[in-house]
């Protein structure tokens, strides 16, 4: 399965991936409308310190501990990718307790959010990858 991979050597720390992610999952048709004047809550997040930076999002683990730990069954694997049904999620944060990458975050709606590889929004392919100007994040089979 294709996954999002990070090559920190190429990361500029520009945060564009975060903006593209927030836009892609906003349901808005224009980036300006989706992001202007808002604090964004993207599903991919840049870690940065000194001159090192890199993006972190869900690894879509082959043996995902979050799915096994979820108390409501909101997390599930479909064709190798890990999805969240925010309608079933009760916001207990057991997945945040267990994900070794810190890849799930709480969302404003009370549920938890995570990268779904843009498979559930209208874009269909990861927009963070499209938005990265330096190919520091790629979407490929490894």
């Amino acid at each position: 399965m294709k996954r999002v991979y990070v090559n920190e050597k190429w990361c500029l720390g520009c945060h564009l991936c975060e903006y593209y992610c927030a836009f892609a999952n906003s349901g808005q048709s224009s980036m300006v409308k989706a992001l202007k004047g808002r604090r964004i809550a993207p599903r991919i997040q840049i870690e940065e310190r000194n001159n090192i930076s890199f993006a972190v999002s869900c690894r879509h683990c082959t043996d995902p501990i979050c799915v096994k730990s979820c108390i409501s069954g909101a997390l599930s694997i479909v064709d190798g990718a890990v999805f969240i049904d925010s309608d079933k999620c009760v916001g207990c944060y057991t997945c945040i307790l267990t994900c070794p990458y810190g890849a799930l975050t709480h969302s404003e709606q009370g549920a938890v959010q995570k990268c779904e590889l843009c498979k559930t929004n209208e874009f269909g392919v990861p927009m963070c990858v499209q938005g990265c100007p330096n190919q520091a994040i790629v979407y490929e089979e490894r």
């Binding site: 920190e8 090192i52 890199f54 096994k68 108390i71 409501s72 207990c92």
Partner: protein
């Protein structure tokens, strides 16, 4: 191959998924005493709180899951196991043959004898969906009931959170001197207690009920608490009787090895009825948490289907919210401590022998799983930048090579 699983909880689901990862052909029969498809047991408080519905709850695994995994769900109670003849006796008098058996019977509420308790008409435990429905019925829609909960552990407090908006008053009594005595240290327990008191819950700690009448409880301290509805959430006991009968070693729980196998040929056990080896304390005890039930169940299932799986990373861990205050805890609290408190948040990291032994987070809990993984994987702290990770959970604390592995799959550069 006939697989039989006794118990219809999370451990049973893990077992089914473990079997089916390796064997798509064998027959799986799930014996479940409760009259429902599998549900996430912790959801019963969220149901009362209105954060989920019964319909959603019962989709812990979607209806299609039973068909896709060819699981025969029998709503029957197992009443005996003959490990010689390899049969399970059911409550309708019939017997079910098995080749491989998993005991995933969970636990039941423990209700200590209390003077006059039999005179209380409106009382319940808080373990099952039926308990939740019974409680809801006793509370009615009037928000006029005074509720008394015995037990300030996780189950008692989650129950309190679930019904707080539905009752007139809520009192909680516990023998221990602090709330959440099993998962919390005194200071963070005090923070959660103060938060819950600010929402209107009244605690009576280091106290217990001396005597009940149908609508009052007289405490040892002399205080008299009037109530309309009583919830008993003092503790649980593992359901180990069938394992004992089958000849398995049973201490406080069913003894299993890291393969979830009991010491009787053909029988595995998993979940709240079984012991775990807690690597954070190097001791064996029951870890009554849902993820652990899944891990043990899945391990059992894979081995039942002829695989070679072991589960060697068991630790106590909990994530829970109490009226908006989030708590995440894991591991053990014996060792050197690093404490920080910042605007309403509390964070304690405990280290021992170059390892993270445990932690407690209140309020700010983002990315806590990075800490949990350090405990589960027993990562030497000397191999990471501990000062950085102490500040907050972050992958920056790992070496570049380790990060490349984590974020770039197998490829390093």
């Amino acid at each position: 191959m006939n697989y039989v699983i006794i118990g219809g909880g999370t451990a049973a689901v893990g077992c089914v998924e473990g079997i089916r990862a390796l064997d798509r052909e064998g027959n799986i029969t799930l014996l479940a005493a409760e009259p429902y498809p599998v549900y996430g047991r912790p959801l019963i408080s969220y149901l009362l709180e209105g954060k989920t519905t019964e319909e959603k709850m019962l989709r812990y695994r979607e209806p299609s899951w039973y068909e896709e995994n060819a699981v025969t769900l029998l709503h029957r109670r197992a009443v005996g196991v003959d490990s010689g003849a390899r049969t399970v006796a059911l409550d309708d008098g019939s017997a079910l043959p098995y080749d491989r058996l998993c005991i995933a019977t969970g636990s039941r509420p423990f209700v200590p004898p209390m003077d006059g308790m039999d005179t209380v008409a409106n009382q319940t435990s808080f373990m099952t969906l039926d308990d939740a429905k019974h409680l809801e019925e006793m509370l009615g829609a009037g928000k006029d009931k005074k509720v008394l909960i015995i037990g300030a552990g996780l189950i008692g407090l989650k129950c309190a959170e679930g019904i707080l908006e539905r009752c007139a008053s809520l009192d909680i009594v516990d023998l221990a001197g602090r709330i959440l005595p099993n998962v919390m240290l005194p200071e963070p327990a005090g923070i959660i207690q103060a938060h819950l008191e600010s929402k209107g819950i009244r605690f009576h700690l280091s106290d217990s009920v001396a005597r009940f009448t149908p609508d009052t409880a007289t405490l040892k301290s002399g205080e008299v608490l009037p109530f309309d509805v009583l919830v008993v959430a003092v503790g649980v006991r593992p359901n180990t009787e069938l394992a004992t009968q089958a000849g398995c070693s049973v201490e406080r729980g069913i003894r299993v090895d890291s393969h979830s196998a009991t010491d009787v040929e053909g029988i595995w056990a998993a979940g709240d009825c079984a012991l775990s080896h807690d690597i954070s304390t190097d001791t064996d005890h029951i870890l009554a948490i849902l993820p652990n039930a899944y891990f043990q169940g899945e391990t059992a299932g894979r081995n039942m289907a002829g695989g070679d799986a072991s589960f060697t990373q068991a630790i106590p861990m909990n994530a829970s919210g109490f009226c908006g205050l989030h708590m995440i805890t894991a591991g053990s609290y014996e060792g050197d401590t690093y404490l920080s408190r910042e605007d309403g948040s509390y964070k304690l990291l405990v280290t021992r022998d170059d390892r993270l032994a445990g932690f407690i987070l209140l309020g700010e809990v983002d990315r806590a799983g990075i800490y949990t993984a350090l405990i589960r994987e027993e990562t030497p702290l000397s191999s990471i930048d501990f000062a950085l990770i102490r500040e907050k959970p972050q992958l920056m604390a790992f070496t570049r090579a380790e990060r490349a592995k984590k974020l770039g799959g197998v490829k390093t550069w």
